[in-house]
Structures are given as C-alpha cells and as structure tokens.
C-alpha cells in the first residue's frame, strides 16, 4: 500500500514537472476507454484487450501442449535429453521478436499470414520458459523413488505417470505462469510491427502515430500491466488449489 502511494506521488511529481498526464486524468480516460469506443480505431479498450488476450491464450496453449510432454520426456530419459536438449539450447537464446521477419516469409503462403505469424511469435516466447521449467523439475525427481519403483517391478508408464508427472506439477505450473507472461509481452510487441486491426499493441502504436494522445498510450500500457498481473495471480491461486500438498 505504501509502495503504491509512493508510486503515485512520484507520478504526480513528474507530471508536475513535465507534460506527462496526471494519474487522475489517466484513470478517467482509462475508464472512459473501457466502454466508449475510441474515435480513431472505433473500438473500446476492452475489445483490444480481448483480441490480444485471445491470441496469447491460443498460441500459449499450443506451446504448452508441446513444451510439457517434451520437458517431462527430456527430464526422464537420458537418451531423449541428449537428442533434444542441444536443439532447445541453441534456439532458446534467440529473442522471439527476431523471428518476426522470418515468420512472415515462412507463413506467406497461408491465409492470414500476419495473425499466424503473431501466434507463432507467442508460441516461441511461451514454449522455452515452460519447457525449461518442466524439464528441470522432471529431471530433479529423486532417483530413490524411481529405483524403489523398479524394485517393485513398476513399468515405465507407471513411473512416468505416478512418479515423474506428479513431481513435475510444480514445474508445469511455474512454466505455464512464466510462459504466459513472456507470451503476453511478445504479442504486444508483435502487434506493434504489423497489424490485424485490433489489439493493445496496435492501439498504442496508432495512438502514437496520430499523435497528441499520451493519456491513451498510458491507458494502454496500464491495461497491459493489469492483465499481466491478473494472469499471474489467477494462475497462482489455481496452483494453490491443484498442488495442495505444498
């Protein structure tokens, strides 16, 4: 609470010294934009948010459905790890946004190139953090558990589903949380480079291009922060429900 007050005080101080809009003005405009369509693009802030959020959720869901099984397999099997990890490790340091031009070329022949490319960028952004997190927790399953299971003649399937998977739940949950956060950052940036007519990144860029709309830009940025914060907290409370033994 004290932090928030301090933050607002700093903001007022900066606004007082510069042309930066005051917090209460931004808040008013923000609330207005939520329900009243903005005149240039003819859409409300909620519509832009929904558009961006949809893209992130779809692409991240795809990313997780690859990253989680691959992460568990790589954590469990030494063979699989030696095959797969070098590929992941060499692609991982590439920033998702660096893929944008290439994505346009790869997907040029498919309809909706730009949308598909944006989804692809989010996929890349969400995949790697999730994979690493799942992989790490799967690999750290205590050896004793697995050896014990083997003594009792458990087959691979049982070991995988009853020992490694539960042990990886924490990693999966963290992976989804971090993956979504990175995906959310990626979509905003991807929307600023090419457009499909709506989305928070696009909104902010157009407001800048038309000019004189700092409050709108700050409102858009605030929305990005709010959604990111909400996503994180939502997933944290999910985690508490699912992983009760923590």
């Amino acid at each position: 609470m004290l932090g928030l007050v301090l933050f607002l005080l700093c903001w007022y101080f900066i606004s007082f010294l510069t042309h930066f809009p005051y917090p209460h003005l931004v808040l008013l405009r923000f609330l207005e934009l939520l329900i009243i369509p903005e005149s240039v693009l003819g859409k409300t802030l909620l519509q832009h948010t929904a558009a961006s959020l949809c893209r992130v959720l779809v692409a991240s869901a795809f990313a997780f459905s690859f990253a989680i099984p691959l992460g568990i397999l790589s954590g469990w099997s030494r063979k699989f790890r030696s095959l797969f990890l070098p590929i992941i490790d060499s692609l991982r340091p590439i920033p998702p946004l660096a893929w944008i031009p290439l994505a346009y070329i790869i997907f040029a022949r498919i309809p909706n190139t730009i949308l598909i490319s944006q989804l692809f960028i989010v996929f890349i952004g969400a995949f790697f953090p999730c994979f690493i997190s799942v992989f790490d927790s799967a690999r750290n399953t205590p050896k004793e558990f697995i050896e014990m299971a083997r003594v009792f003649n458990a087959d691979n399937k049982t070991i995988l589903l009853d020992i490694i998977l539960p042990h990886s739940l924490q990693g999966i949950s963290t992976g989804i949380r971090v993956g979504l956060a990175v995906g959310w950052m990626c979509i905003i940036a991807a929307e600023m480079i090419a457009t499909t007519g709506e989305g928070l990144g696009y909104f902010i860029l157009v407001m800048y291009e038309v000019g004189g709309r700092v409050t709108e830009i700050v409102s858009g940025i605030a929305m990005i922060g709010i959604v990111g914060y909400a996503l994180n907290n939502l997933l944290l409370s999910f985690e508490k429900v699912i992983i009760r033994w923590r």
Binding site: P111, V210, G211, R213
Partner: protein, 296 residues
C-alpha cells in the same frame, strides 16, 4: 502493401507512387480510381522547416527546390528524370515511368485543399488540440504561420522577373530528412544531383526516414532542419504534439490511387473487403472515405 496484395492478405490498398505503379506493373492489381479523380489537387508531400532558421538559408533552399521542381516539369528532361527516378527509388524504369504520369510536382500546395484536409481531421476527431491551445488567435493565423508563403513568394517573384536569378550564397549546413524510395520527393534528389544546393552555398546532410511520423520525431529531437514529408504527419504532429515546424514549399499534389485485385470493379464492391491504408488520419485514409462518401 504491395506484398500484402500479392499474397492476398488484403483485397485493395490506398497508397502513393511508386507503389501504385509497382503493383500494377507487376500484375498484382489494377487501379480502381486515382486520387486526382477522388479529390483533385489534394495535398500530398511538402517541404517543412524547423523554426529558427534564418531567412537567407531558407531562401537558398527554396530556390534550389523550385529549380529542381521546374526541371522535373520540363518535358525535354524526361529521359534524365527517368534515370534519376530509378536511381532514387531503386525500381524498374517501367514502374517509375507510369508513376511519374500520376504525380503532379508542384512548388506550393493549394492552401484551400489543405484547409479542407485540416477540417476533415477536425471533424473525424483526429486532432486533440485546438489552434488556440497552440497559441494562435484563430485558424487563419495558424495557417498563415503553418503554411508560410513568404519565402516561396519572394523566390517566385524574383524568378519571374529574371529566370536566372540566384539568391545570395549562404555557406551553411542543413540536415535534410526525406522518405525512403518516395518518388514524390524526387525534387530533392534532382537538386542534389544537379548541384543546385552547392550553387547557393548549402551543404546538405541527408537523413532517410521510413515514414513521416518518424521524420516528425526527427524534427522534435532536433535531428533535422528541413524535411520532405507528407502533409498528414506534418499536420497531425504539428497540432497534436506541437512539433514546431512550418511548411515552406510544396512537393506534389495528387499521386495516390486505390489499387484493387482482380474481381473488384467498382468502389461499391469494396464494401466488406479488406482495404489497407498507410495510417489513420493520412491523406490516403481520407481519399478512401471520400470515395465512399461519393457513392452515397
């Protein structure tokens, strides 16, 4: 946009030359209607200058610009212009040849059309400030300052009495912004190639921008003294962000078009189709709106 039309991402676009001709010559689309048919003499590119440059320097620059514009409009120079155009834009001869036909190179914009554009911006809610917020008593004063005829008129008058008149040599350096491969701004290239700036003692440092919004940012940050750019970013950023510039000469009127892919034959068939525009509040944005309004 040319690429997007080719890929079928969009059904049509409104753009300026040489991109209209590029799409046509490469066979990706055809011209549905040119901007001269929709809005005759509509403003397009202009020469803008930051405030605070001395009059002699501005006069020298405007003189070189006018000389280049007149050179372009002279029929006997058409071969040379064609070569300059391909060099400047990096496009095929066939493309620039077609494009040149649709551009009206001018020395000064039509002020009334400019006011019409300004009013359109105002009506559509693009402007966040009134001219009184910028310290002008009314719009008349604003336009007098924003579209500054004084220097152009002085140079034009001198040239009328003596066509080989040359302003005083100034010995100064100007940083000039322009847009990548924008054929409208050919006069700048011609003036450079023809040595017109040297003749009046101007040293030019070129600075290329991908679009007018960034070029206005360049003005704001003090990166350039003079710039060739579209009237849209010039007006929007002048009013909305109070970037302190004024227009000192024209570059061209018209020179845009609505380009469509196969199967669209009338403006009304654009309904429900994906039409790309270079940006909200741009002249091309309004060209499309005006074309639609004419239908009603």
């Amino acid at each position: 946009m040319v690429e997007q039309l080719k890929l079928g991402e969009i059904d049509a676009f409104v753009a300026w030359e040489p991109f209209v001709s590029e799409a046509v010559v490469k066979g990706y689309g055809r011209i549905l209607v040119t901007s001269s048919e929709i809005w005759p003499n509509h403003p397009c590119c202009v020469v803008a200058a930051r405030k605070g440059l001395d009059k002699d320097t501005l006069t020298a620059f405007v003189w070189a610009h006018i000389k280049a514009t007149r050179f372009i409009n002279e029929n006997k120079n058409s071969d040379e212009i064609l070569t300059y155009s391909t060099e400047f834009t990096g496009m095929d001869k066939e493309v620039v040849k077609q494009a040149l036909k649709r551009i009206k190179f001018v020395e000064f914009p039509e002020i009334n059309e400019f006011k019409f554009y300004f009013n359109k911006l105002k009506e559509s809610g693009y402007l966040t400030h009134k001219v009184t917020d910028l310290g002008y008593a009314n719009e008349e004063y604003f336009f007098k300052d924003f579209i500054n005829e004084e220097i152009y008129k002085h140079v034009a008058k001198k040239l009328r009495t003596n066509s080989s008149w040359k302003p005083r040599s100034v010995n100064s350096t100007l940083r000039v912004g322009y847009l990548t491969a924008d054929l409208h701004q050919l006069a700048f290239y011609v003036a450079l190639k023809g040595g017109y700036f040297d003749e009046v003692g101007l040293r030019i440092i070129k600075k290329e921008y991908p679009n007018g919004v960034y070029e206005m940012e360049g003005f704001k940050l003090g990166e350039i003294d003079i710039g060739y750019l579209g009237s849209a970013p010039a007006t929007l950023k002048r009013v909305n962000d109070n970037v302190s510039i004024r227009i000192i000469a024209g570059v061209n009127n018209e020179g845009s078009a609505i380009v469509v892919k196969e199967g669209i034959n009338t403006i009304s068939e654009l309904a429900g189709k994906k039409v790309a525009i270079p940006g909200f509040g741009t002249v091309q944005d309004f060209l499309l709106k005006l074309a639609m309004e004419k239908l009603r």
